[in-house]
């Protein structure tokens, strides 16, 4: 017993080490061009630059095929009610509906290569990389046809609105280690707390990841108006009526011709 103990301890430590350090250890560092996107009155959309570096650990060689990088920028998850129109007595009426408590308000994916060349489909779904990899409302592969239709419709409508998008091949490498991409932020971007998830792959295997935060907020005049409306609805209501009456009166005076 006492003779085998050091060996066992050694084996145990080796196992620990193996678990803590994967066969290949990579160093990933990334940053955003800004920690906050401010929506001002003349906000017409902007770009968020995500840049960083990926390198093998000291003394290790880079993988043969190089690295691939996938960046996902995701907005806050919130409730969405999807409705489907059906024809009743010749008229199209909202009939069936599905409630999803956790739909991302925004989702943009940028990658070095199309996702299917970077990562296995199952892994893409697990990490929610592409738009079609997004899962919400407990949706899974065994869902019935109608659930799938609804789920697809949400993805489609969000894409049409411009809040879900994919930019495959938009991440470019500058040399072996530095990468960068500019993700378009449309003017329709919802406000809230965002997450930028940067993942690096080698040979379809996840080798490193990092998550960064981003805030999208109304600022300046827009924010003051929204604040007033939310906190002092009666004042805001009276003010709205006063502005309307004044504008109407002013117009009448300015353009008086009789």
């Amino acid at each position: 017993m006492s003779r085998t103990s050091p060996l066992r301890t050694l084996a145990f430590l080796a196992g620990l080490l193996a678990a803590a350090l994967p066969a290949r250890a990579e160093k990933l560092a990334a940053a955003l061009s800004t920690p906050m996107v401010s929506i001002t009155s003349n906000f017409a959309g902007t770009e968020l630059t995500v840049f960083g570096s990926i390198a093998p650990d000291r003394g290790k060689a880079a993988p043969v095929g190089g690295y691939d990088v996938v960046i996902v920028l995701e907005g806050p998850r919130s409730g969405v009610l999807a409705r489907r129109k059906e024809r009743i007595f010749g008229v199209w009426i909202n009939r069936s509906r599905r409630a999803y408590p956790d739909v991302p308000a925004f989702h943009a994916m940028a990658s070095t290569l199309p996702l299917s060349m970077v990562v296995e489909p199952k892994e893409a779904i697990r990490l929610g990389l592409g738009v079609s990899d997004l899962r919400f409302g407990g949706h899974n592969e065994n869902a019935d046809a109608e659930s799938r239709d609804f789920h697809d419709a949400v993805l489609r409508l969000q894409q049409n609105r411009g809040v879900y998008a994919e930019y495959p091949t938009s991440v470019s490498f500058l040399g072996d280690q530095l990468f960068a991409t500019a993700i378009p932020i449309p003017a329709e971007v919802p406000v809230g707390t965002y997450e930028a998830r940067i993942t690096a792959y080698a040979g379809k295997r996840l080798v490193a990841q990092e998550t960064l935060g981003l805030l999208v907020v109304k600022s300046g005049f827009s924010q003051r108006v929204a604040d007033l409306a939310a906190r002092w609805p009666v004042v805001y209501g009276l003010l709205s009526v006063a502005i309307a009456l004044f504008t109407g009166w002013l117009g009448g005076v300015l353009f008086r011709r009789d």
């Binding site: 059906e86 909202n94 409306a229 009448g252």
Partner: protein, 311 residues
């Protein structure tokens, strides 16, 4: 130029919204209607949520009606007594309208009800007005003798109702009940549909109450200013859906457009004006009917304001 709407949380092209306001203002000035029945659908089409569009248009209707009402006031073409009766009913109807609006939005049938109401009211009214005014125009081609000025009228079934009230300015004695009910109905529909209701109240006053055309527009404008001010306040305070930046853009465009429209309108004869308005109303109604019946390219829609609970 892009402008971000703080309550709608939606970017719009400032000049497009301004132009839409001016074009609709022109029409409203020409016919003496608020123009909300054109403005609300146009805004929804450009991406503003129906709830915000309806509420913000009510603010715009206040502005456009105010400048119109002031101009009729200067010309003393307002029956104040009737306006007060109408707006008492109107405020009550507006309160009910805000409640119905919120309830329909919850169950997801607001768009359907708005669509059906537009088809029903615009369709019937458009046909009726066009038909009637074309009849008048054709009759005038045949004989052009002037009709004698009318005396104080007492009208059949209206006379039979209780609470008769004398409206001297309109040279009319009718029961208070139809006047109050008309105000109530217009206030309710106006708030629910995001329209001033001018296109409903003007013909109703002409054809049902037999108010002389010379005071109809001015009086209905006064009623609209009061009722829609009330509706704007309720929508802002209760539903948080008035986007004052959107409203202001529409107002400025609308007030300017209305001035030019009013000048054109004064040069046209009453029946010509009614025929044109009838055709315009009819075409909007047909547009809504088409949307309800034709297979939609996208049968799904999303309600992003859903906050949980059983749908």
């Amino acid at each position: 130029m892009q402008l971000y709407l703080p309550i709608a949380e939606w970017p719009v092209n400032m000049f497009v919204i301004f132009g839409v306001g001016a074009a609709v203002g022109f029409i409203s000035g020409m016919f003496g209607v608020g123009g909300g029945f054109l403005l609300t659908p146009l805004l929804v089409f450009s991406g503003v949520s129906p709830a915000v569009a309806v509420a913000s248009v009510s603010a715009q209707v206040v502005a456009s009606s105010t400048s119109g009402a002031l101009s009729y006031w200067r010309r003393k073409a307002i029956d104040w007594k009737m306006a007060i009766y109408l707006l008492i009913g109107g405020m009550l109807g507006s309160g009910l309208g805000v409640m119905a609006f919120a309830a329909l939005r919850r169950v997801g049938q607001l768009d359907l009800v708005i669509g059906l109401c537009y088809v029903f009211f615009l369709g019937f009214l458009g046909i009726f007005m066009t038909w009637e005014s074309i009849g008048v125009i054709l009759a005038q081609r045949k004989q052009t003798e002037a009709q004698p000025p009318k005396k104080l009228r007492q009208h059949g079934w209206m006379h039979a109702m209780p609470f008769p009230v004398k409206f001297p300015r309109s040279r009319l004695v009718i029961s208070a009940i139809p006047v109050l009910l008309l105000g109530l109905g217009i206030g309710f529909l106006g708030t629910l549909l995001g329209i001033g209701g001018g296109f409903l109240i003007v013909p109703a006053m002409i054809y049902l109450l037999k108010v002389p055309p010379s005071v109809v527009v001015g009086t209905s404008l006064v009623q609209m200013v009061a009722t829609m001010s009330f509706a704007t306040f309720l929508q802002a305070a209760q539903n948080h859906t008035v986007d004052i930046v959107l409203g202001l853009l529409l107002m400025i465009g609308g007030v300017i457009g209305a001035q030019f429209g009013a000048q054109i309108g004064q040069r046209l004869r009453g029946e010509q004006l009614r025929a044109l308005l009838g055709l315009l109303i009819l075409s909007v109604g047909i547009r809504f009917a088409y949307e309800l019946v034709v297979t939609p390219s996208e049968p799904y829609s999303l309600d992003r304001s859903y906050t949980g609970g059983q749908p």
